[in-house]
Symmetry: C2
Subunit: 229 residues, 2 copies
């Protein structure tokens, strides 16, 4: 919680987590260069641990490593965006169904707290935090289903989705998806697995259709993005 770089664990996992947080908050925007020395100075560690953190983030497709060029915040392509949501569509609905059969009262309370925090963040204008909480909700469902392996995969896909949303979000209405989470929670509380599965499926489809994924040559960001805005 402290922002004092000297007072905390300086492991590579910590650095990776803080960088990921910054990416999710859009303080680091896609395409931005991550200089190893700078990051090291900021977090009070050497390049050795910075490199380990960057490698971990590269595994999760949050940064792209170009040999002899350095690390850059990832810029998922339109195709990649579709693929990520395709994978989520295969994993999450059935997992939500499984979760419904195993949801405990404690789980429901935790999810409800999650939604409350999400609303609060939205009201406070902290869209980055809201997005992160929204993603956590999905991961939590996989954990309730007691599928830790799937939860881990979903966690990675959710993280990538955050980047995708940062790049391709178009819907002017606020993140209304919180309503979908409310519905999901009710389905889980009612142990209605079929409903939970359907809700999750349409929820993911809803997010996907809220993106602007026209075939725009979103790849040549190297030059276009530099000159356009």
């Amino acid at each position: 919680m402290s922002s004092d770089p000297d007072s905390q664990d300086r492991s590579s996992a910590t650095v990776a987590a803080r960088l990921a947080e910054a990416i999710h908050d859009h303080r680091l925007i896609p395409g931005m260069k991550l200089n190893e020395d700078e990051v090291g100075v900021i977090y009070g560690v050497s390049r050795t641990v910075v490199r380990a953190a960057l490698q971990e983030l590269a595994h999760n497709h949050l940064v792209e490593l170009r040999r002899n060029r350095g690390a850059f915040v990832a810029q998922p392509s339109v195709k990649e965006a579709r693929e990520v949501f395709e994978a989520r569509a295969l994993l999450e609905p059935r997992t939500a169904r499984s979760a419904a059969a195993r949801t405990t009262e404690a789980d429901i309370a935790a999810l409800r707290a999650h939604i409350v925090a999400e609303h609060a963040a939205l009201d406070a204008g902290a869209t980055g935090r809201a997005l992160q909480l929204s993603g956590q909700f999905h991961i939590e469902i996989a954990r309730i289903a007691d599928q830790l392996t799937i939860a881990e995969i979903v966690a990675q896909l959710v993280a990538r989705s955050s980047l995708i949303i940062a790049l391709y979000w178009q819907r002017r209405t606020a993140l209304c998806e919180s309503h979908a989470h409310d519905q999901l929670l009710r389905a889980l509380a009612a142990r209605d697995g079929a409903l939970a599965e359907d809700l999750m499926k349409s929820h993911l489809l809803d997010i996907l259709t809220s993106l602007d994924l026209r075939d725009q040559s979103s790849q040549p960001r190297s030059l276009e993005e530099a000159l356009r805005p």
Copy 2:
């Protein structure tokens, strides 16, 4: 192919690939310690790149990193084994269906060559190589479906499956699954997506049921567990 450590690319990815190969071939068995210096000497690289390779393998759950203790070949638990195949059951059947609609003649030829190589490896008694080819077959299907993200996830799950099979294989009959791959190939060639989906589903179920996953850890994680009861 060369085993001369000086004649080839000494990047961490290469070291990771060769270690993974050794794990799949069961030359490195679950639980084995991977000393950083030894690995470095063997491949002619410094500990820096060995550590990067080990971190990559840890990310794929092929090795387990214990802080201040070192790296060990992973020993997936029974629960983890079930979870891996649960994830595969969600991803692969539907992906096989998609692949059926996109399979080209070149794809069919490549898959057929794959199966031939698999049979040859089996006949030659190279079960490790056969297992690896068998896994590649599954990954190839995801690539035919043009789902690179799913292909990557499946690749990781397949790698873990190889470890799981090494630990929990019980069926005395030879790896008869090659027949399942034959059937799958025919379904793809016939562009029968529904059949491909069904075949993949039952194929995965068949592998899972061929494992000995009785609830108590048949492979004790520690000596204590082995000697206590």
